[in-house]
Amino acid sequence: MKLKAVIGDREQDLNVQIDGESVRAEIDGRIYELELREPEPGCYLFFRDAEVHECRVNKVQDGFDVSLHERSYPVAIIDPKRLRSDQDADRHHHGLAEITAPMPGKVVRVHIETGAAVEKGAGVIVVEAMKMQNEMKSPRAGVVISINVKPGDTVNAGDVLAVVE
């Protein structure tokens, strides 16, 4: 199985062969020979010689969240066999930047208007969650082409609040 894995902002070639309980993986030239057990769904226990590594994998919005050894790693997997032009590619090519809600909450203030120019990093919308007000910032300089919320609206994680071109 040949895939690409994106960790942080590094894209790496990943070749994983699973044969029963044996795993042979090559990642950017580094080779891992592992024994694999799955004590519960989403939990992968690797034995590398005598070393034990317990990994927990959760599906998240745009990839996987993997926990091991007191840390968590966001990993995106790109499968060349299934590659199709996804929204991400679109967004980048057309110079659009979406401002999304990082968590569920309530919109308390909207500092921008459609058609207005914004600076990169300017606070545009304030969302309140868990007794805290959080200012969403524009990821780029540009012009606001749409605002999808108004004060008082309830939003979910991942909702697009506004789009900057």
């Binding site: 199985m1 994983v16 699973i18 993986a25 990642i27 993997v66």
Partner: protein, 503 residues
């Protein structure tokens, strides 16, 4: 003793109080909002009553609904926990008026301590020092100079209308006073439209130290020693310990006696906490405020004294004397508590609500976890993001820190981001290990730990491999373990075998 108690709270503290109820043979009744119907505190109760929709103003703060719930289940007392209505004198009065017992101090004592000015007056009446300062705004520079000479440097100039550090200046000598006075005035005018200033004696590198007191209706008022709560962010405590790393028996006795005096002045009953600012160098302490309830951090006192504070609250509220006297209080070993929040420490402690997909809490020698969540729990946006408290005990502070480090490494929470990684860094921090704590700790800690610690390449690679395997397992069924016996194949074989036997 009470027969049935309604707990007017949620989360870990509701679970904690239910545990005390069980030990005393009291039937615990939970309340919950519509968002909390599946939460842990409901699942461990005998009875549970919905008191309203998710927002706390309509549920956990809804006095009428809570008292109606207590009447409906025929409870004889209400325990408020901490937060929500715990320090609401109106609630205490309404509970009593409904013929139920409020587990806490009298409404009058709550009211006296609830106001900053009457609380300061009570402290002065008890002969307990408060931070010296001017009561009215300064009228001139000459007055500022005279007052500063009287208090002694360093002093703090503060905007009378202010807050948030604007119009605030620390002045260390008389030579700096004039320019500080003028800039603070300008800043205050710009920020608040009011240039008036007042002056306070500055407490340098202040430690936040509080004293647990307990009083019954038989005239006993005792103290259970101090808790060091200097590690705070956004004026909220995150790590507490008992004893304070700078504990000395004389200081504990003096602070304890001061706290007991205040308790006597306001005719206090039940569990209360008197908070002080302590100057690190001089060991002078000043009354800050009193919390008229059980504190979040009560477990560290319990671990070191051996008393169950919630059990004592029930005893006192039912009219019995405390189970111990001042002479019977002994402090053994050292306890440290970390408040585990659903917040992202790497992103300015941004709240991180969501579903807990996996939870493995630490256990073993010296470990206590007071948790409000379970596997699959939803951490909602409506309430305080604290999900659990991890408390550890050791014979010495060093042993407690060793256990804390071990317990933090054992603690697994996935699905939400928590403050656990932050605590893992704190336990290895030189200032923390040395016990050099004051309210500026986190600011200095953040500077020392600005650079992220890179994980080993092997772990990063294994994470990628695990994600790839999970992708294969969940996205491409045909890829799963070629040659293995699938369920369909097994079923078909079994069916074939049955047919063969019949024929």
């Amino acid at each position: 003793m009470f027969r049935k108690v309604l707990i007017a709270n949620r989360g870990e503290i509701a679970v904690r109080i239910i545990r005390a109820c069980r030990e005393l043979g009291i039937k615990p009744v939970a309340i919950y909002s519509e968002a909390d119907v599946e939460s842990l505190h409901v699942r461990v109760a005998d009875e549970a009553v919905c008191v309203g929709p998710a927002p706390s103003s309509q549920s956990y703060l809804n006095i009428d609904a809570i008292i109606a719930a207590a009447k409906a289940v025929n409870a004889d007392a209400i325990h408020p926990g901490y937060g929500f209505l715990a320090e609401n004198a109106g609630f205490a009065r309404a509970v009593t008026a409904a013929g139920l017992t409020f587990i806490g101090p009298s409404a009058d004592a709550m009211e006296t301590m609830g106001s900053k000015t009457s609380a300061r007056r009570a402290a002065v009446e008890s002969g307990v020092p408060i931070v010296p300062g001017t009561v009215d705004a300064l009228t001139s520079f000459a007055e500022a100079l005279a007052t500063a000479e009287e208090f002694g440097y360093p002093v703090m100039l503060k905007a009378a209308a202010g807050g948030g550090g604007k119009g605030m200046r620390l002045v260390t000598s008389s030579g700096d006073l004039r320019s500080a006075f003028e800039t603070a005035q300008t800043e205050a005018a710009a920020a608040f439209g009011d240039s008036s200033l007042y002056l306070e004696k500055a407490v340098e590198r202040p430690r936040h130290i509080e004293i647990q007191i307990f009083a019954d209706t038989h005239g006993n008022v005792v103290h259970l020693g101090e808790r060091e709560c200097s590690i705070q962010r956004r004026h909220q405590k995150v790590i507490e310990e008992c004893p304070s790393p700078i504990n000395d028996p004389d200081l504990r006795r003096r602070m304890g006696e001061a706290a007991v005096k205040i308790g006597k002045t306001v005719d206090y009953t039940g569990a209360g906490t008197v908070e002080f600012l302590l100057a690190d160098a001089t060991r002078e302490f000043y009354f800050l405020e009193m919390n008229t309830r059980l504190q979040v951090e009560h477990p560290v006192t319990e671990l070191v004294t051996g008393f169950d504070l919630v059990r004592e609250q029930f005893l006192v509220a039912s009219g019995e004397p405390l189970s111990f006297t001042q002479d019977g209080v002994r402090w053994t070993g050292h306890a440290i508590e970390c408040r585990v929040y659903a917040e992202d420490p790497a992103n300015n402690f941004f709240p991180s609500p969501g579903t807990i997909t996996h939870l493995r809490e630490p256990a073993g020698p010296g470990i206590r976890v007071d948790s409000g969540v379970a596997n699959g729990s939803e951490v909602s946006i409506y309430y305080d993001p604290m999900i659990a408290k991890l408390a550890v005990w050791g014979r010495t502070r060093d042993e407690a820190i060793d256990r804390l480090r071990r317990a933090l490494d054992e603690y697994q929470v996935t699905g939400i981001t928590t403050t656990l990684p932050f605590f893992r860094e704190v336990v290895g921090d030189e200032e923390f290990v040395a016990g050099r704590l004051d309210t500026g700790f986190i600011a200095r800690f953040n500077e020392r730990h600005a650079a992220p610690v890179e994980p080993p390449q092997e772990h990063v690679d294994l994470a990628a491999i695990a994600a790839a395997i999970h992708y294969a397992r969940t996205q491409q069924p045909a890829f799963v373990q070629p040659g293995a016996n699938g369920r369909w194949k097994m079923a078909a074989r079994a069916a074939g075998l049955r047919r063969w036997r019949k024929s």
